[in-house]
Symmetry: C2
Subunit: 393 residues, 2 copies
């Protein structure tokens, strides 16, 4: 009771009260009229969110389930694919593809950097016969935003499908699937969508539907059967009913002022966090091509980032995430996804600063409030964009 | 507002208020201490429910996902298996096994009847090299309860694993996994467990763990990785957090008076429904080996069962299920699973009777209340058992 709990982890994220109460509604049957109309309502909004005219399939699984569905439905063992690997989730694409028996060519990108569209173009040229290119919109382990639009332009002229993991990115920064030419876009419920984990979404382009294998590689993930059932407002197997009940409310909230306004807020929150971090004398781990929902902060040498994360939770009620793999202890990840506003982030930033001080990191505190909020206000009034507002970037 | 909605479908089922409010709790992170202790608490109770000392893995998928996990983890393409097919869900075992590339031998059982353990024994004898036997505890499409204990005794002496789909059965009638010698037991969240759909559970015997393939047939379903994470109170990928929050409450409710008392209630409710149906001049579709959570009722010739189901919903707020496949329109399925008591069933039975009358089925109504409730009271005072109380059976 001393502190309210503030969940600023990159999934699951905090859920609005309105959505939580929707999750507690009485159960309804997934093959009856009331559910069908709920699904129809959500479908239209999901298409707006994905920027697509294609059906957006809700799947009863985590985000990794939807990634599995994409790989096992679109590619057969032996197919050659290109995986852009710039962190834990790029690595996951590779692992799923190898589990499916694909021939994986990897474009390894240093953690903290984004993939170069020219490198993708070069690899597609050097490695003939590539049938698919896999990338993240936002790589959650580092906080990088890959230039998916530009990568899509390079893939467009080839025979390869572009498959984008938007689990940490969809609804946080623009990713209009049809306009950019993405062939498969997946996301999960538990990040920008402000829902509990347990549901994922997947959409395919027309040419991806044509390439979808007739026999699913994994029985549970049968995309043509899902599409057919979706036409009736149903899912192939039992639907995650209460998550769909919550989804209706969360989509209404996200789209309330239009998707652009929501992205604008996400952009401004990112500026708030990045400027504040610099005001403290710290550095964001990602200096260019940063995500709009997650900021990774480099922890000064000699300070244990794991202890900082623990102190934020224990002493301030603020839940952050540490680094993964070789970044363990070296970065702290602060998410600003969906149901987070400037005040939540000020709390998170204060906790971060105080915990670093408590662990011997600074001689004294610095006032990030003024600079951070000035950056936020300027960003809210200005234009969103790919180029960083922060002159240090 | 004229009628309260009463969900008497065989999944999803009604959810207690206590559980619904638990589902609406604030989100917590799935890799932090609060979640670990929640998982530990649930694990102990899940083991009680499954009657096993083995870990019970929570999976983020529907029941069919857990069935897929079992098939793809325990068997490799080309393996020969025996599928007991007595309805839609027996058929599903066959479809999953064929999708996995297994050689499927089918023991076809007439819909409405249970498998004979002697037939299983005979097939295991006639078809050498069978590596797995697949069966339902309760076949949801008919309401049959297969004699799993006796089938397990026949499988025990062989090299085959026994895999049981307990989606419609676990927590509704006894199925102690270790005592009966079941090698793999799966269930779902949305029936006897009184939760929304979206989570499934799977446990393996020691010998099944030894046979578990090192490389998962489907990346998303990696049972050894799930077991390893469960030791820390986690799941392999992102956990369905709010369903686990609800699970804690639903398990507490189910085990409040002991599992036996809960089964006893399920047994008595089954007697209430069966006697009432006979008092109306109708017949249960299953006459022997009936499930304790679901009663299928034969609709008199000339009456459209689909219309009856619709009228129950439209006129009385009672949601029942119709028949599937060739039983469409011929039976109505009334579920008494988990969060249903005698009063809910009286409402369901009244709606059923009234709708049949309205569709020209009877010349007049019959008083089922007295007989049905007498049967219920007698069953609550007597012993539960395999042999039917109802002398007509």
């Amino acid at each position: 009771m001393l502190n309210k709990a503030r969940l600023l982890t990159p999934g699951p994220t905090a859920i609005p009260d309105e959505v939580r109460l929707a999750l507690a509604q009485p159960m309804i049957h997934h093959r009856k009229a009331a559910f069908h109309s709920l699904m129809a309502d959500c479908q239209e909004k999901l298409q707006t969110l994905f920027g697509t005219k294609q059906p957006v399939l809700p799947l009863s699984c985590s985000g990794t389930g939807a990634m599995t569905a994409a790989v096992y439905s679109l590619f057969a063992p032996g197919d050659k694919v290109l995986v852009i690997d710039a962190g834990k989730f790029g690595e996951r694409w590779g692992n799923i593809c190898r589990a499916r028996g694909l021939e994986v060519v990897t474009l390894s990108v240093e953690w903290g950097l984004a993939a170069s569209p020219e490198d993708v173009e070069q690899m597609l040229h050097d490695e003939p016969g590539i049938k698919g290119v896999f990338v993240q919109l936002s790589e959650t382990s580092t906080g990088v935003l890959h230039p998916v639009e530009d990568i899509a332009a390079k893939v467009a002229g080839t025979d390869a499908l572009l498959i984008v993991d938007g689990v940490s990115g969809v609804s946080l920064s623009p990713c209009p699937m049809d306009a950019w030419g993405i062939d498969c876009l997946v996301t999960g419920s538990q990040k920008g969508l402000m829902l509990p984990p347990g549901m994922a979404f997947l959409a395919l382009s027309e040419r991806a539907w044509e390439r979808c294998l007739p026999d699913p590689g994994c029985f549970y993930f049968n995309l043509p059967a899902e599409r057919k059932k979706l036409e009736k407002g149903e899912t192939n197997f039992t639907s995650p009913v209460n998550l769909i009940q919550g989804l209706k409310v969360s989509l209404d909230m996200l789209l309330q002022d239009g998707l652009e306004a929501h992205f604008h807020k996400q952009w401004a929150l990112t500026q708030l966090v990045r400027r504040s971090v610099r005001a403290m004398g710290l550095n964001p781990f990602v200096t260019r091509n940063y995500a709009w929902g997650l900021t990774s902060v480099l922890i000064p040498d000699g300070i244990d980032g794991i202890k900082v994360v623990k102190d934020c939770a224990d002493n301030h009620g603020v839940f952050l995430a540490g680094g993964q793999d070789f970044l363990k202890g070296r970065i702290v990840r602060l998410a600003h996804m969906g149901w987070a506003d400037w005040s939540d982030l000020l709390a998170g930033l204060y906790a971060l600063q105080r915990s670093i001080i408590d662990n011997g990191g600074f001689s004294g505190s610095h006032d990030f409030l003024e600079q951070g909020m000035a950056s936020y206000r300027a960003a809210m009034e200005g234009e969103t964009g790919k180029e960083p507002l922060d002159p240090h970037d």
